[in-house]
Symmetry: none
Subunit: 234 residues, 2 copies
DNA sequence: TGTACATTCTTGTATATACAACTTGTGTTT
DNA sequence: AAACACAAGTTGTATATACAAGAATGTACA
């Protein structure tokens, strides 16, 4: 067993206060000296907890003023291809999904081009709605290349998302992502339980492994319930 | 003029070695003790330089082994801070803009936090609509830190965008980007000449230079006229 | 009244030190 | 030859201390 460092305990304590709502955004958190006294550590150790949380976007500091709880951070990341179930779990919410379709279909022009197959070739087609605390947060329509992932349809996606399964069986080498804003169509609006034509973030994602294009997905998020974030340094 | 901290000089030195190619990926960086000796600082100061570069993804460390140069990170166009005028020019279209507002204002809570200023402090506020072949393609609302860019309001933005000007006077070190989908508000809809509540891609962008947070902008694109793309490799 | 100054509390930088934990090589013992 | 013990070098954690810098408040003085 490995005991965690002392600054980690302070970080956890602060996170807990924030997540429980006791310390809302803009709340002034105890000073370095105060925390040092409360936790019986040196100021530098308390400082490390505050500094790391600041780097992580949880807190904001300003010399002479103090340390404050930052606005809640956006959920998704533009840089990583993350699993929606993991993202939800990381927020401490419950994950569930509804499988609306799981079938074999014929590739239309667009899908055929994206997957590098002939038009009319057999492809796997799935539509799944992902729920965050019971609230629909992503409409996922996916076309998968059967020659690369022959057992796709047999999977149990109630506890393992397609994304998770695919990255396991076919390690990614390249991902093309396109982001746009669209009004929700009838089908999407019903599935996401939002008004028709309300603003949605639509992500097109084509994933390739060494052997070819594995999958082509359209991910639609209600604009009011999802954001993408990225942090770049130079 | 403020002299930069000593650990920053060490960071710069290491970055310079990497960028010049002298220290390729996997190269073993001098140890904390070695750097401390070379730069005549304490080990903890040298350590800070290495730790920050590790957090930034530039280096990798492992206990007992040493510190090594990390693989360069992939970055797509979603991630570059590009000038909208250049983007339009690259497509061979004509660029123009309409300046709707250019004034000094008082920072509200959100703006103050984002810029690291006190609430009610003076900030520069501009609203500009960018046109692609005469069609509105971006609604740009920007708050700028007057202490870092005092001459912002005097600029002529008809041929040089704020983004272009800011990157020239204050080289960026860090950019936070958030992307979401929203329905166009009345003001935005009028400026972009689209229907109210139609889907728009809204990008929040906070740019920092070495001396602090320079600017905080909201960029709204009509969903039907704009997309963002990124390509990642692994 | 109001301006200037001093005080106090905050975060930021820097140092010196100590010990823990991990990795590698070296040498000794079995 | 294999196993073990040890030393050296590395990063990781933690402390005590000092001073610098920014911000707010109160106080003295003009």
């Amino acid at each position: 067993m490995s005991s965690q460092p002392r600054y980690a305990a302070i970080k956890e304590h602060i996170r807990a206060q924030i997540e429980s709502g006791k310390w809302p955004a803009q709340f002034r958190v105890p000073s370095e000296n105060q925390l040092a006294q409360d936790f019986s550590v040196s100021r530098m150790t308390a400082r490390r907890a505050l500094s790391e949380l600041t780097d992580e976007g949880v807190l904001m500091r300003s010399q002479g003023l103090g340390t404050f709880v930052a606005e809640p951070v956006p959920a998704g990341s533009l840089l990583e291809v993350r699993n929606i179930a993991d993202e939800i779990a990381a927020r401490g919410h419950s994950y569930a999904n509804r499988i609306l379709k799981l079938e074999q279909a014929q590739a239309g022009t667009e899908v055929a081009v994206a997957l590098g197959l002939a038009e009319g070739a057999a492809v796997y087609h799935s539509i799944i709605v992902h729920l965050d605390n019971g609230l629909p947060i992503q409409f996922e329509e996916r076309y998968t290349n059967p020659t690369l992932v022959p057992e796709y349809l047999q999977q149990d996606f109630t506890h393992c998302t397609p994304n998770e399964y695919l990255t396991r069986v076919a390690p990614l080498t390249e991902v093309d992502t396109t982001v746009e804003a669209v009004g929700a169509s009838g089908e999407v609006a019903r599935a996401l339980e939002i008004a028709e034509n309300s603003a949605c973030l639509q992500i097109w994602r084509r994933t390739k492994s060494s052997s070819g294009t594995v999958s082509f997905a359209r991910l639609v998020h209600p604009g009011s319930r999802y954001r993408l974030g990225a942090q770049l340094r130079f």
